[in-house]
């Protein structure tokens, strides 16, 4: 397996190690956790000489070709530098965390998250594919969320984590858009191709958008103004996390991104303006804010913001040398800031506080730690002989050699010096306010030196600050050179890493910064007083309030539309229907087509008038429910007649039987519903609804008219031709139902069966309010089973069943069929219920309707299955003519069995509904009183 691929994979594997090893001692867990990253570091070290020599390693494995996403890793100078930081500082943090975390903390979980983050970060810097880069980028957001919220029971940890995730996540989305556009422009998501196509990209019309999108991604991650505020709040995380993520690695991802895409995106005024101005603003703002923090970590966080601004400023200066300086400062900042965070963690850990107003004079209690912290602080302040000094000198030098602001470019070095002043001042504050400045105030614990090994990481980092500060080129020269080479994607300009460049302007600026810093710190009281005039704004509070407002606004917005009113929802559906269907109608020139119309006669006028009055009557009397039911019946009857008139006897039969059963159902319901509807629609609502319904009615009428008056060529001739010969029946409609489109019918009876089951569910455990009298308040009649009705109904049952059998048997050749027969049977049985009551029937008729439904559907489906035995598809029909003596010729068809299934389902379903409903009312009649 490729070594390069092994590096991230080893780290990924490392995420489970702590989970498996957490049951051993914490030390063992730490060491086991460190093993795989150490191995990865070793592998990188192995490759390092070749990389420094100018080689670039690549590996790519296909992942999702459809989106051009492959697992592609590369190791070049820039990646190498960052890998060192990630793995090296990561290992130190693992060691540090072993002592930092208390026994109650789940260290396995912590390490697992930490390694996950390490993996994500490593993925970012080693990515050789734009989308993959974004994938790891987002993974850093997720894993940092987990780390910041490690103490999730604390409100500030939750809030800080959410804020960090929201800001960096949002940035990630911008980045994704930018990267996708970049890939679009270049035609490839391969990083190298993109880096090589700088000219193409810069010339493209989307370039400005791409730059903005990518930079927003970078700025959010690197806490650049105006997205800087999340970083101080992320300090709710355990300090090892701060040391690792918020100084050395994650916040550098944005910087890394800018450096990575430097060859592709930089080099235009747009880039320089945005990047340098943002960097400058951040540099000053961070420095200024750091000065006023009372929280030790707050100070460090703001100073980090400031330093990130410095690096960004460098990247925006437009000279290759500035880029080198930026890379150099990345290394230096990582070392001194990580050590400072660790020191702060030690102080917090051993004194129980991070408040600089309480922490005073710790020099006495922990001189060794104090020394380390002071050295690191001085590196941060840019004191000579420490690494910070070197890169700051380079920075000052670069500010003098830029022209980003045209004739105002002189302001940049001035601002830079001012930033230097601030940075000296807050570094000084860190040293003086914590380690000197009198005695500690009300500390929860008496401070003392930390355990031996907790200090080791700090020692190593501080040593690095010193060594780099004194022998820069010896330690980091090659690394810097190679990183700069790959960041520039080309030759690196001449530069020298030396402590002494003679007396020059940068040195003067450094001196001013040092002296100015001292003076600012000395007069800090005035500054604090000045700052105190401004209302203290906690970005966390503002952000939370913003989010809460967003949620509240969303909720009121949603509640406004989704107000739980069905009428409104129906209104929306109908309105949309009107809108979409009215537009095309406007284009229709002539409503009437060329097809000749049937002449009008008295009968049709009668039907039309009856239908119209019936429909209108239903609307007018809808609040008098019984009347509405009668007018509805009229409409149903006329529709039946219309079907008969227009040559559809089957339809007439079906419509009629369904209508009667529906009316019976509605009557059953009517009994339990209020008998009258109060008038509650406002006139405006009525007018609106009238408008809507009239519009839809008009559209429907127009469309059907336009359609009917135009000729149509259909597939139906096939059915007429094949009905007898292929389906064995002369009633083409029935043959379509049971044969040509038998599958529809199977679905249809299933619907009926399901409806019955659903209704059974609705009925069970229903608490009904029984009216004791009718709408006039009159008590119900005593006559439960009227004499004549009972007697006649009894003798009608056999007749009705016979008719039902008749309709069933002739269905295939004449109007009729299983469905209608089923409904007739049902109606006949319902009539018995009406005449005799449920109890009477229950004793005499022992049918399990549920079984009827199941077997009905089963029989119909099994009929279809029968054709499998003959190698034909489902529902292939069979029929033949037989001849018996005496009886003569007769036909047998599989369609009949299918129809039997239909019949059984219909009877079962209808009866399951009605009988259960009836039963319910019987058993509970006296129990409830009318509610209103």
């Amino acid at each position: 397996m490729n070594t390069l691929l092994c590096i991230p994979l080893l780290v990924l594997l490392g995420t489970i190690v702590p989970l498996c090893s957490m049951r051993y001692s914490r030390t063992a867990c730490a060491f086991l956790t460190a093993a795989l990253p150490a191995l990865a570091l070793f592998l990188i070290l192995d490759l390092a000489p070749a990389v420094i020599a100018g080689e670039r390693f690549n590996v790519a494995v296909d992942w999702v070709p459809a989106i051009d996403l492959s697992l592609a890793f590369r190791l070049d100078g820039l990646a190498l530098l960052f890998s060192f930081l990630i793995l090296g500082i990561g290992l130190l943090v693992i060691l540090y965390a072993r002592y930092y975390l208390s026994k109650e903390d789940n260290i396995g979980k912590f390490y697992s998250y930490l390694i996950l983050f390490m993996f994500a970060m490593l993925g970012v810097v080693m990515s050789d594919n734009l989308i993959q880069l974004w994938v790891f980028w987002e993974l850093t957001s997720i894993s940092s969320f987990l780390l910041i919220s490690f103490w999730g029971h604390k409100s500030e940890a939750r809030k800080g984590a959410r804020m960090a995730l929201t800001i960096t996540g949002a940035g990630g989305l911008f980045l994704l858009a930018g990267l996708l556009m970049l890939g679009d422009v270049v035609g490839s998501y391969s990083l190298q191709t993109v880096l090589d196509s700088g000219d193409l990209i810069r010339a493209h019309s989307s370039y400005p958008i791409i730059v903005v999108l990518v930079l927003v991604g970078a700025f959010t991650k690197s806490a650049q103004f105006p997205f800087h505020f999340w970083l101080p709040n992320a300090m709710a995380a355990p300090t090892p996390v701060s040391a690792y993520l918020h100084s050395a690695t994650m916040v550098k991802a944005g910087i890394f991104l800018m450096a990575r895409f430097y060859p592709a995106l930089a080099g235009t005024d747009l880039w320089f303006l945005i990047v340098s101005m943002t960097g400058l603003a951040t540099f000053l703002l961070g420095g200024y804010l750091a000065l006023f923090q009372h929280d030790l970590k707050g100070l460090l966080a703001n100073s980090t913001i400031s330093h990130l601004g410095l690096i960004t400023l460098l990247l925006g200066m437009g000279s290759d040398l500035a880029l080198v300086a930026a890379v150099f400062h990345i290394i230096n900042h990582a070392t001194f800031k990580a050590s400072l965070f660790m020191a702060a963690g030690i102080i917090d850990h051993e004194s129980g506080s991070r408040d600089m107003r309480q922490l005073n004079g710790l020099w006495k209690y922990m001189p060794y730690t104090a020394t380390l912290a002071m050295v690191a602080s001085m590196a941060m302040a840019g004191v000579p002989l420490l690494n910070g000094f070197l890169s700051k000198e380079m920075f000052f030098n670069e500010t003098l050699h830029q022209d980003s602001l045209g004739s105002l470019s002189w302001m940049v070095p001035v601002m830079a010096t001012l930033g230097g002043v601030l940075s000296v001042a807050y570094s000084l504050r860190f040293i003086h306010d914590v380690f000197f400045n009198g005695e500690p105030i009300n500390l929860p614990k008496t401070p003392h030196e930390p355990p031996r090994y907790m200090r080791v990481p700090v020692e190593i980092l501080v040593a690095l600050c010193l060594i780099v500060g004194i022998f820069p080129s010896f330690i980091v020269g090659d690394l810097l050179q190679s990183a700069s080479f790959s960041a520039l994607n080309g030759p690196v300009p001449e530069y020298s890493l030396a402590i002494w460049h003679g007396f020059n302007l940068p040195l003067l600026m450094s001196a001013i910064a040092l002296v100015g810093g001292l003076m600012v710190y000395y007069n800090r009281r005035h500054l604090f007083k000045f700052q105190a005039q401004f209302p203290a704004k906690d970005p966390k509070v503002i952000f939370e309030r913003g989010i809460q407002q967003l949620v509240a606004k969303s909720a009121s917005f949603i509640n406004f539309f989704e107000n739980g009113s069905l009428q409104r929802y129906v209104y929306f559906v109908m309105s949309l229907t009107i809108v979409v269907s009215a537009y095309p109608l406007l284009d229709l020139d002539a409503t009437a087509g060329r097809r000749p119309e049937i002449p009008v006669d008295a009968l049709s006028i009668t039907g039309a008038v009856l239908l119209t009055l019936g429909s209108l009557g239903t609307v007018i009397w809808h609040r008098r429910r019984m009347v509405a039911l009668l007018t509805l019946s009229v409409v149903g009857l006329i529709v039946t007649l219309a079907f008969a008139r227009f040559s559809a006897p089957d339809l007439a039969l079906t419509q009629l039987s369904v209508e009667v059963v529906t009316v019976i159902l509605l009557m059953l319901a009517l009994f339990f519903l209020p008998q009258k509807t109060p008038k509650e629609s406002s006139p405006r609502r009525v007018v609106r609804d009238l408008g809507i319904s009239a519009m839809i009615g008009g559209i429907v009428g127009t469309v059907i008219y336009a359609m009917m008056t135009r000729p149509l060529d259909t597939i139906s001739d096939f059915f007429l031709e094949n009905s007898k010969t292929g389906g064995g029946g002369t009633n083409v409609v029935n043959v379509i139902l049971v044969d040509f489109r038998g599958f529809d019918t199977l679905g249809e009876i299933t619907v009926l069966g399901i409806a019955a089951l659903g209704i059974f569910k609705l009925i069970s455990r229903m608490r009904l309010y029984m009216p004791s009298g009718n709408e006039q308040g009159r008590a119900w009649s005593e006559d439960r089973h009227p004499l004549m009705l009972s007697v006649v109904s009894q003798s009608l049952l056999p007749l009705a069943l016979l008719v039902s059998a008749y309709i069933f048997l002739r269905g295939h050749n004449m109007p009729g069929g299983g469905f209608i027969a089923g409904l007739i049977t049902s109606v006949a049985i319902i009539q018995q219920y009406v005449a005799h009551g449920v109890d009477w029937i229950k004793e005499r008729l022992k049918l399990d309707y549920q079984i009827m439904i199941g077997s009905g559907i089963g029989i119909a489906a099994l009929t279809g299955l029968g054709s499998w035995a003959f190698g034909h598809p489902f529902l292939t029909s069979w029929f033949d003519y037989f001849s018996l003596p005496v009886i003569g010729k007769f036909e047998l068809a599989s369609a009949m069995i299918f129809d039997l299934g239909v019949y059984l389902t219909v009877v079962g379903a209808t009866m399951l509904i009605l009988a259960n409903l009836g039963q319910l009312t019987t058993s509970e009649r006296a129990t409830f009183e009318e509610d209103a």
Binding site: G564, L566, Y571, E597, I598, V600, S604, L611, T612, S615, L616, T618, L632, F646, S647, L651, Q655, V661, T662, L665, L666, A669, F672, L673, P674, T677, P678, E680, S681, D689, I692, S693, I696, G697, I704, Y705, L712, T714, I715, L720, T730, N731, V732, V733, D744, T745, E748, V751, A755, G758, I759, I763, L768, Y769, N813, M814, P815, F819, A909, A932
Partner: protein
């Protein structure tokens, strides 16, 4: 004839939709029933209107389009199942929610307020 037919279908649709937009379950169910009648007539007419043309072989010289008839049959049955469910659901809603308003709550109008006070009395 087609004009009259179209008018009737349009009118029934309009009436059905108007009732569907009312606030009580019963009106809504009646409206949906009316609407389904209109739909069935509409679907039926997609095969064009024919007199004396029942699609029974040997019973007449010409045959109307049998396919829409079969479709309407299916639609009627399905519509019946759906209406039945809706009717019982309306009852269930009354039982569970105490009123038959489609939104499951009593809108505050003068009349309902009066009813309420009447009920308390």
């Amino acid at each position: 004839m087609e004009g009259i037919y179209a008018f009737c279908v349009g009118l029934m649709t309009a009436c059905g939709i108007f009732l569907t937009l009312r606030g009580r379950t019963f009106s809504v169910v009646v409206g949906l029933t009316l609407l389904s009648y209109a739909v069935n007539l509409f679907l039926f007419a997609s095969g064009r209107l024919r007199l004396d043309a029942a699609a029974v072989l040997g019973e007449s010289e010409n045959y109307g389009d049998p396919l829409p008839q079969a479709l309407v049959l299916t639609a009627i049955v399905i519509g019946f199942a759906m209406t039945a469910f809706a009717v019982i659901l309306a009852m269930r809603a009354r039982a569970d929610l105490g009123n038959d308003h489609v939104d499951g709550r009593i809108p505050q109008t003068k009349e309902s307020a009066r009813q309420k006070s009447g009920g308390q009395r």
